[in-house]
Assembly symmetry: C2
Homo-oligomer: 481 residues x 2
Amino acid sequence: VSRLSPALEAELRAALGDDGLSLDEHDLAHYGTDRCRGGWPVAPAAVARPRNVTAVQAVVRACARAAVPIVPSGGRTGLAGGATATAGELVLSLERMRRILEVDAIAGWLRCEAGATVQAVRDAAAAVELLYPIDFASKGSAQIGGSIATNAGGVNVLRYGMTRQWVMGLRVVLASGEILDVGGPLVKNNTGYDLRQLFVGSEGTLGVVVEAVLALTRPPAGRIVALAGTSDEAAIVRLFARVRASGLVCSAFECFDAASVRHVLAHRGQTGRGPLAAAAQHVLVEFELAHEDQGEAALERLTDLFAAAETDGDVADVAVARTPAQQTALWAWREEISESLHGRDPHKADVALPISVVPDFVRRWRAALEEHLPEVEAVCFGHIGDGNLHLNLLRPAAWPLDRFVARCAEFDESVYALVEELGGSISAEHGIGLLKRAHVHHTRSAVDLEVMRRVKHALDPSGLFNPGKLFPPPPPRVPGA
Amino acid sequence: VSRLSPALEAELRAALGDDGLSLDEHDLAHYGTDRCRGGWPVAPAAVARPRNVTAVQAVVRACARAAVPIVPSGGRTGLAGGATATAGELVLSLERMRRILEVDAIAGWLRCEAGATVQAVRDAAAAVELLYPIDFASKGSAQIGGSIATNAGGVNVLRYGMTRQWVMGLRVVLASGEILDVGGPLVKNNTGYDLRQLFVGSEGTLGVVVEAVLALTRPPAGRIVALAGTSDEAAIVRLFARVRASGLVCSAFECFDAASVRHVLAHRGQTGRGPLAAAAQHVLVEFELAHEDQGEAALERLTDLFAAAETDGDVADVAVARTPAQQTALWAWREEISESLHGRDPHKADVALPISVVPDFVRRWRAALEEHLPEVEAVCFGHIGDGNLHLNLLRPAAWPLDRFVARCAEFDESVYALVEELGGSISAEHGIGLLKRAHVHHTRSAVDLEVMRRVKHALDPSGLFNPGKLFPPPPPRVPGA
């Protein structure tokens, strides 16, 4: 296990207080990794939990002087290893800095510390009848700082965009220990480079986000939720075009396959059938109402839309929720999929494609699976309205984990090559972290990566923050060279 | 006049064709400046008008080798001198690269060359019943490349945001002559730094935008336009809070004062009164309808809103347009202000403030005017829903222009100090260019500017692109030092 020098340890204790620095091995294991298990060592040297910005600055300055790298750490709900400390880094947890600092209900924004959970921000917005619309499964644990570092997406991206769209301002501690304030509550401010968006999605490699100003919006007055059965992805894409043209405000357009339904049923311990008996593919659609009195007109419009889709053979069966309880029940089929797969060590790919090529992609992906991994069961679901599919491969009971992981990694390379060929992204919302850094060239060009490297060097010349993440690994050394 | 070396001239002619390079003095004067007259010399060495990306790359490489800086040039409708060539630069005009390359009506985006006008993009979107929602007065001349370089705003920012929000992808020629593709039609792509937003608003200092992928949206089914008379800015802000809380989709919330109305009347050659006889302040509000059948309900809601505002004394008088012609007539009061001031050599400040402090700002600005420039007439109008005011000072007939400009520049410094004190921005939408570079420290901190400098150096180490723009000028040399 790596160790801090006595001098650095003393300096950190002075800055953080005794309870703000931990070398305890349970803490190291707990804070040293996120939800991604990629086989890397988990080996931080220490965990720092500052209570304020001044302490963050002191930690950054001390580590910079001692050349001990820092892994910024939020709720560690990431799925790409971006918050994993593998080689004696200091983990800098923001969890004690979680105050909501200011809420402006008229202008529609709030300011908070980076350690506030996404749910806490949503609650603070709801308390003044506003909405922070970023919503994803781990929102109760995920922290705002981490959601900004990873540009978190979720179930309402179609309507509200990614986290990027809601970040108005950031306070960042730079590698020099200086504070950088970028943006703020102003709607308009055309005074030079947008450094704010550079930090959003930078996976902790450019600085430590310590505070954020987030935009809020008015929540919808009501919702309509419907589930439609379709035959294949091509029918789903045609249905999406109808929805786009309808003028209805669509807030979610999600898909899941028959395998997803089987696993949810099994996980619930239910026998019998899914929500739409014979459907090969399911589309869950949610619409927003600006006023409660629009419900009837919107339902009528939706009924017409589905009727036309049925006539054209694109939709076989439809269930429209009539009550909030029914809405929750329909959503549950989509929301419980991930958990229902958990026991099967799913290997995940989180890809995005132009929606028009999704049918072609899925067809070729299934054919490649059939050819190269016929023993492996696949489950496909996702945010298809955004072109975002979550592809899950399940470990065959007879295969040991390492064999399964190795075979999947091999298969990934062909999936990502196909994604590149079709103009997609190898990471729609999970980021790159350690997990996908060897594959990033499929989505970012050599020139693009070189500019990213230069930006990294401009902001963090000594490589203090989150080393090894996001950028492709160096090529293997040639023996004898 | 500065000159190209014969070798560089020959190289550029080979890349551009004979009609693609001009040394003609009328062309130099025409292409060498934008709409801002700040007293700088207009002295480019040449004007290059490439027809394709390959030619842009050749020009950039040739100029880099010869150490001749490049001023990227769009429609030159800017108001901050950002496209002015003052010292022998090569002006690189994109006006011959104006094709709409691809439109995807289902996914909702288009791809175009940078020289396409904003209006041409709006027309191409309208041809497939979609909307490119960036709308400002000079859209018929302004080019997409320039609108991206300046992050253009306009009259619908409240509803649709700035240009930044609609840029999905960019093709950029870097200082090395290499092509950088960032982003694209994908809705989701979490694979590293958002370099795209770094170029948006960078005023041509980081590279030459040659192509863009722009998001499109569905146009509203209808509009409601109303004009309300109020007593002061505090009443306007209270009215804004009512509008925000109403659930109506507000697409514009503009203000103008009684002086604005007087100048529009005079410019029209009309005698008599403005649209609302006795109002000190006017608020023009536009609402969008998602469906035509919502018109009646929305009008009812709006009537209730104004009635409540009248009861509370915030609104004195209201005109609601009943026909499209009436809508146009109400908008004309707002749209004609700038032109009506033209003959008075208006000195403009384009400031943004948190909307809650706008009343305080305007009160203190008017008091400072009364104290320091009592001879000068002031006109205030703008996008108050965004906190964005356009402050115009008019030259007294008896003052020569240079005296007026000098006195206004002196006064600007106190205005910008007040903007800083109240947490505002010295440039809401016009940018920095040459005009405001000495004032940028009022909005961006020293650390912020240092990071901007490092990013500039990372992308353009030899300072090839648009030198002297955006960054504060070097401090004056101390004699004898």
